[in-house]
């Protein structure tokens, strides 16, 4: 079944001390819905660094990223009873919540996101390249994470202009119109690139998708 494949992929992160790696994310969320704090701890151990990395890619300061992650896990905890497995993986749900919180925080501060800052400097590497100097050690962790490796590779395989508009939308929180202004490109070009890039990603990420339309 495709569903179990998704969970297995997301579970390929370091095991935690309390919960066995064999427990699917969905089961953790069910236990959280029953009020079990240990399940929340286990979920954090699996996906906390993903959430933190995502938050940090959007906000700029580590302290802000921590606030975003604490908020996001708080929301996941409070609404665990409402999680619907049919709509995507637990990790995807957490990512969506984290991204929304991070963009809200950036907007509340009246700032630009980190991704937009990078785009403004016309950084040709885009966002999918590690920022720090500890890239080697980080790479080894990526090796252990099947999903992350596939996503990173799929993004890297996109033509740079397509990757950039997708990253500006996802990490920068910009609309197509705002991206066109930011990149000084015609709106129609931005729309075409975004659509084409997303279609390619959907193809290459198919093994990770729960629903997988058509």
């Amino acid at each position: 079944m495709q569903k179990s494949k998704t969970d297995a992929n997301f579970e390929a992160v370091p095991d935690d001390q309390q919960v066995k790696a064999g427990v699917p994310d969905r089961a953790l969320v069910e236990r959280m819905a029953a009020g079990e704090e240990r399940a929340l701890g286990a979920l954090y151990d699996r996906h906390g660094s993903m959430a933190y990395a995502l938050a940090l890619a959007i906000v700029r300061e580590g302290a802000d990223a921590e606030e975003v992650v604490a908020d996001a896990f708080g929301q996941v905890w409070r609404s665990a009873t409402q999680y619907d497995a049919g709509r995507g993986s637990v990790a995807g749900w957490l990512a969506t919540i984290t991204r929304t919180r991070a963009l809200d925080l950036v907007r509340a501060r009246g700032r630009r996101t980190r991704a937009v800052e990078r785009a403004a400097r016309a950084d040709p590497d885009g966002l999918a390249t590690p920022l720090g100097s500890s890239a080697d050690r980080a790479d080894r962790q990526i090796e252990r994470h099947e999903a992350r490796r596939l996503v990173t590779r799929s993004l890297a395989e996109l033509p740079e202009p397509q990757r950039r508009v997708i990253e500006l939308a996802y990490f920068g929180g910009l609309s197509q119109t705002e991206i066109a202004v930011e990149l000084q490109e015609p709106l129609g070009t931005v729309k075409t690139r975004m659509r084409a890039g997303m279609e390619k990603l959907r193809g290459s990420l198919a093994p990770l998708l729960v629903g997988g339309s058509s």
Binding site: A33, G35, Q82, T96, G132, M194, L201, G211
Partner: protein, 248 residues
């Protein structure tokens, strides 16, 4: 817009990249297009996976404690622990729901009472402010209404710039059922004009602020007893009559 053009919006929509009006139009369309809904769901999954491409960053160790500490302060919404006897859990849920429902209703009733009592207090204060503002002004003129045989007396404070009078009545028993007292302003050489109806409380007193019709000036003021609701013109000889005199 053709079906094909709608579908093209699914990817930017999933990325949150549509402009507000376009998003609103697309959401209306989504409500009755299963094809687009499926497209959106699948693109949303793709979008969520983009999180995995964020540059690797390790959270500080203390963040785990913070997450757990903040979670400890709240329970998951509707959290229940399904046990070996589901009916027991269900019953417990029901009891909890009733309890919460009751607590909620009680809380709400409490809040409504507070709101009402605040509103009442505000009205009382506003009425007193109005009384005070009407009386304490250099423009105020007064009329002392002498008893015409009976014990009651009244005093009228007229504030022309504010078009208001305050009437203070003493020793006047409440009007009988179906009857009311009415205060009249009587301009020189003209018919009386009603300033409003009032009634005294059981201690025979009343203080009320009443509107004076715009532009009306009067020399005499009087009180009659009238059928409930008041009369267009007095139906009896006033039992309290007073002449307006400048304030001293």
């Amino acid at each position: 817009m053709t079906d094909h053009q709608w579908t093209e919006l699914a990817a930017p929509y999933a990325l949150g990249a549509l402009d507000p009006e376009e998003r609103a139009r697309f959401e209306t369309h989504l409500a009755d297009c299963a094809v687009c809904r499926a497209e959106v769901r699948s693109h949303k999954e793709v979008a969520a996976l983009l999180a995995e491409s964020a540059p690797v960053a390790m959270p500080p160790a203390a963040l785990r404690d913070r997450v757990l500490r903040e979670a400890r302060r709240v329970r998951p919404i509707g959290a229940s622990r399904p046990g070996r006897a589901p009916w027991l859990a269900a019953a417990a849920c029901l009891v909890l729901a009733i309890g919460l429902g009751y607590a909620y209703l009680r809380e709400r009733a409490e809040r409504e009472r507070t709101v009402q009592s605040l509103a009442a207090s505000r009205d009382t204060i506003a009425a007193r402010d109005s009384l005070i503002a009407t009386i304490f002004s250099p423009d105020v003129v007064t009329a002392a209404l002498a008893a015409t045989g009976q014990a009651p007396s009244a005093r009228v404070y007229w504030n022309p710039p504010r078009h208001r009078v305050v009437v203070a009545v003493f020793n006047l028993p409440p009007a009988p059922a179906g009857r009311t007292y009415q205060l009249w302003a009587i301009p020189h050489g003209k018919k009386p004009v009603s300033l409003g109806v009032f009634n005294t409380s059981t201690d025979g007193r009343l203080t009320a602020a009443l509107e004076v019709p715009l532009g009306l000036t009067f020399e005499v003021t009087a009180v009659t007893e009238e059928p409930a609701g008041g009369s267009p013109q007095p139906t009896q000889t006033p039992f309290l009559v007073g002449k307006v005199s400048p304030a001293d």
